[in-house]
Symmetry: D3
Subunit: 125 residues, 6 copies
């Protein structure tokens, strides 16, 4: 049963954040192995797996929040990739960034767009 939280989480984590998520997990295993398990089990196994909100909407929420907070660039990069992986278009991601200019200020929007450009370039979008 408990194992299932990890298994369910890993399936969704791989689907959403793919290879970048694996990097995060590998480096966690070294310094805080139990936190690697928690990262798979709670955010992905418990939350993302829930049926009440589709994965694309979940990634819109996460990209918006991380852009607004402005202090989590590595995770924003992972979730811009995640948003693209679950069906967001490049255009939609740019719109989210612009909109964050309203709610968190122009610097948050500009820095979000800088991160988005890096992700788009890496994927040849």
């Amino acid at each position: 049963m408990c194992k299932n939280r990890y298994e369910v989480g890993l399936d969704i984590m791989n689907k959403v954040v793919g290879e970048l998520g694996s990097h995060t997990r590998e480096s966690l295993k070294e310094i805080a192995p139990e936190f690697e398990e928690m990262l798979v089990e709670f955010p992905f196994g418990d939350i993302y797996s829930r049926p009440g909100l589709d994965l694309k909407s979940r990634e819109i929420a996460t990209v918006a929040a991380l852009t607004a907070l402005g202090n989590a660039t590595p995770q924003l990069k992972v979730h811009i990739n995640g948003a693209l992986n679950v069906g967001c278009t490049k255009k939609e991601i740019v719109e989210i960034m612009m909109q964050m200019g309203v709610y968190a200020g122009f610097p948050a929007a500009l820095n979000g767009l800088t991160t988005a450009r890096e992700v788009f370039n890496a994927r040849n979008l």
Copy 2:
């Protein structure tokens, strides 16, 4: 042309945040009348009016960001209403709040849920 930014913005603002938006606008007219115009023109006339992201997704992004920031309760209340007005279900809003526990911490999620409950109660949901 310039007039249109206000007109376009007011239509969308009324559609999204309705009566609560009117309260904000009325109280702004007193202390900073030009800012009332800017509030209609930039967030709603320039941003929300753009075709690249549907209104429901825009409200998911805004509710997520304001919950994560945790320092804008009046605006979060307005946009939980806005999310409901453009098609989000109560369930979807609760899911966004829970998910923000992952990205901004449990206090952000709990305070977001408290605000959501107030909005749901006021609308008899």
Copy 3:
């Protein structure tokens, strides 16, 4: 096994944040019953139960962080109580608040002290 995460968490949650934690749990059950379970299981069942850091040090960390963030007053109140419950003195809590003036600014320290005074008064300290 999975049940144990909740049971383990509830024991620690009751020990640390007592009656105030029950209030939080009760109001969550209404709006987001699964989040009530997650709140018991992840923060308390998974994290606070770990042997690597004693409960008093954990509450020092939490009170410091919530004071520095400055946007989670209800949770700060809960954890000032929690700190007292697991062995912090009133004096130690005041010292943490003062020290946060260095790392998050005087307003964070002053607002933390205001919240601490409310808790101390309610407990007749």
Copy 4:
């Protein structure tokens, strides 16, 4: 010599934030008397007393920062009063709030204007 830091600070603190500063000091004396001394000595005795920036510019900086941070309403209220006390006009304060909409988002600006209106009303401005 050390006494002078308190004396110098108290003179400037009284000049800038006046009666509201006294309230803060009185309530601090109860819970953290040494922090009352530090509040007078460091921010006002050490920083505000320095010749490199005039008091009006200092209050512009403080009002801008507290509006942008958005989690220190009691201190923002004190410093809107302070800004008025050292020569800022009501109009200038409103401009600072509007400008923070650019750098910290519209919610920060709107909440800053709400606090400003309360201060202006209390002073019959």
Copy 5:
């Protein structure tokens, strides 16, 4: 008329943030061309152009806010340059940074001073 918001904004943007602003605009044109227009039109065309607060005071407010927020280093660099361009002295900027130690903590002040030193060095100040 609408064109004028861009023209007015571009004049002020060039005056305040000069070459660094051009870099921002050029990179925006690639990923979000309409946001380049909004960046010129709203912050500079609508806000900075207003007569109620002089440009030097506006840059003091912006430098203070970005230093306090601590999550917008590229924009802080642009506006330390902007502050120097509209009449702030090196000394005044250092004073703003030190003062932010009071309102946002010593780390914010120290990181602001690090950014200021980079700007001063690049301008041989």
Copy 6:
């Protein structure tokens, strides 16, 4: 007497943050020499020297707060070293980071762990 605040502070600063603190002080002396004095006198001479909270608990509080804020990586690095210098184990620091996942979100915890790993590696821990 006043001299003593600097002397007392320097002793504690050297004990807690050692060589890294010296680097900070040296670079401050260049751009803001009086702020170097204030950094020694207020955080270390006034606050850390106080008897009400032991140095290990103070560093737990500071590491927790800086991890939660997420916008002060250089200072977090200094204080992870500081925590180790005054008796925290590697394990305890990892526990603090994991716990901040609860109060400030998983990105804050992950970025804190990344910084911790850099410090541990540099010390061959």
